[in-house]
Amino acid sequence: MIQINQLAKAFAISKNNKLSDSEKNDVRYGGDRFHSVREVSFSCGAGEVLALLGPNGAGKTTTLRLLSTALQPDSGSVLIDGQDVIKKPLQARKRIGFLSSSTGLYGRLTARENVAYFGRLHGMSENALNERIDELFSLLQMHEFANRRADNMSTGMKQKTAIARAVVHSPKVVVLDEPTTGLDIMTVQTVLDFIRSLKQQGTPVIFSTHHLDEVAALCDKVVVINAGISAFNGSLEEFRQLSPTADLRQAFLQVLNKEVV
């Protein structure tokens, strides 16, 4: 169970950074700061998959980075199973698995070493780590390239390795930032199967995406972020109802047009 309450994050703007007209019209510019995320709240329970939708630059990635403690929020709270993530980031990080399509691997390390490195950083003992790696590599069918260097892997192999790396420490919550962007169909399928298996294990999954078919296929909950505010927060069914034809695309546009504060 993960709960996010009224997260906000602003970035300083450098003075010599010229803004384009459309940027100036963005309500999030205030003074010398850009309020990337202004008020985002949602929650995701056990076995639930939550889709984070929103146009480019809406604040999805910032939100996910706040969740994963890569960035520190200005205000708001993130609770995982009741524990405050922001106050105790080091402990919270053990409970979070994070993956994005842009996350890379260490090219000169093998698949196994890549996964093991992060396992060790998560403080896993060597025995537990080896067991877990064997388990994950069987699950993802990675044994045949376990000792190949990441530089010599195909995209699919890399993504599998990245997935294994993200969950090597058995996280309580998995956060995925556009995990399928820019991947081929086979690799996307690997990612979606992985999300499904997490769902079966009862692990909450939060992922941002632009692919509405993925949302329809996998998600229980939908959150739409627009201009740094969670503009919609509800179940997939409720989201579908926003459009008269139950079309997700229509529903999405409906939310965006409804209110731009």
């Binding site: 970035f11 300083a12 980075r65 994963s68 403690t69 890569a70 960035l71 520190q72 080091l90 402990q91 990080r93 053990k94 979070i96 994070f98 994005s100 842009s102 996350t103 890379g104 691997l105 260490y106 090219g107 000169r108 390390l109 070493e113 490195y117 992060f118 060790r120 950083l121 998560h122 403080g123 260097r149 790396r165 993200a166």
Partner: protein, 400 residues
Amino acid sequence: MWQVYQKELLELMRDKKTLMFVVLLPLLIFPLLFGLMGLVMSNVSRQAEAEEHRYVIINAERAPAFADALFYHKNFKKVETELTAAEDLKQAIRDDKFDVAIVIPADFDVSAENLNQSKWQLIHNSSSQLDMISKHFNDLLKTFSKKLQQDKLAGLGVSSDKVAAVLEPVTVERINTAESRENIGEKIGGFIAYLLVPLVLAGASYPAMDIGAGEKERGTLETLLICPISRSAIVLGKFLTVLTTGLVSAALTVISFGGWGYLIGSMAGVDVVAKTMETLGFIDLTLILALLLPLSAIFAALLLSLSIYARSYKEAQNYIGPVTMVVFMPLVVAILPGVELNWKTAMVPVLNVALSIKELVKGTIDYLLLAAVLGSTLLIAAAAIAFCVSWFQKEKVLFR
């Protein structure tokens, strides 16, 4: 922290580029380059020694002894010409008709009674670094003049046993109080820092780029940041990696130069390495290392800070390039003659270390100054590391 350190080292060891910079460069390529350079130099000078210069001599009959000496000199070859005017001779040399023209005045008379200074002209292109023509000519002229001097003095009634006293009333025997160590130190002491410091820098900068900016570029930094390990631990692990490669690179160079020096020395019969080691002694060597260590730490922290700030590999390279230039300046100053370690120069980072090493090799170090240099370098190193650590906590640096 050690997890990060171990992994970074493992990764770097697998990288061919690192091996190139850290291992191959000092072990093989540098000695090879220096060796080649020496070979080319000695070849060029040998060639210049053997080169034959075509000459013309005007009014040779006025100084037959000199003309004969010139004629029989192995590096000079006589060429005939009708030209006599200086301008024409100059033009002829430019046109490559001959290399040098010697103009003896028409009124020059070896056996003249009255003593007049005679002005000869030597026309040639002296822009060459190895001006062998002048050298040979001066040698010949010196012999010729000496003979002339003796003849004239004899003519004036100076007997031959007194000639030396007249020509050179005072001779000086020099007794050097400097130990041979001081001489060696003055010559090579400055170069030790000049060689070692850039090596540390070169050995450290590639890994620094790889594990700072490279991590950003590959997209692995974000994952690393959300591991349950403090950012200070991450950055210190990386810092130690950079420091290690820098020092290893420098150490390998010293060993390699030592080895090659020993090899060449034993072949040539002069054992430079053993001699240097003898003069230096254990304590001085330790002190030199003690000076280099914090200096390397400063570089490592600085390079890593720049690299972490950069968005990409390329950007990191752009930042690190100028740093190398800045570091080189004080090193060059340190090998200039007359620059010595005093309270002023002890305050200039890099320069102070270079000068201290020089003094240590010479064996004339002022230990109070050495303490000041060591102290200030340590202080700067601590500050640089602290800066690097705090730099790594900033979101605007990590997520640019």
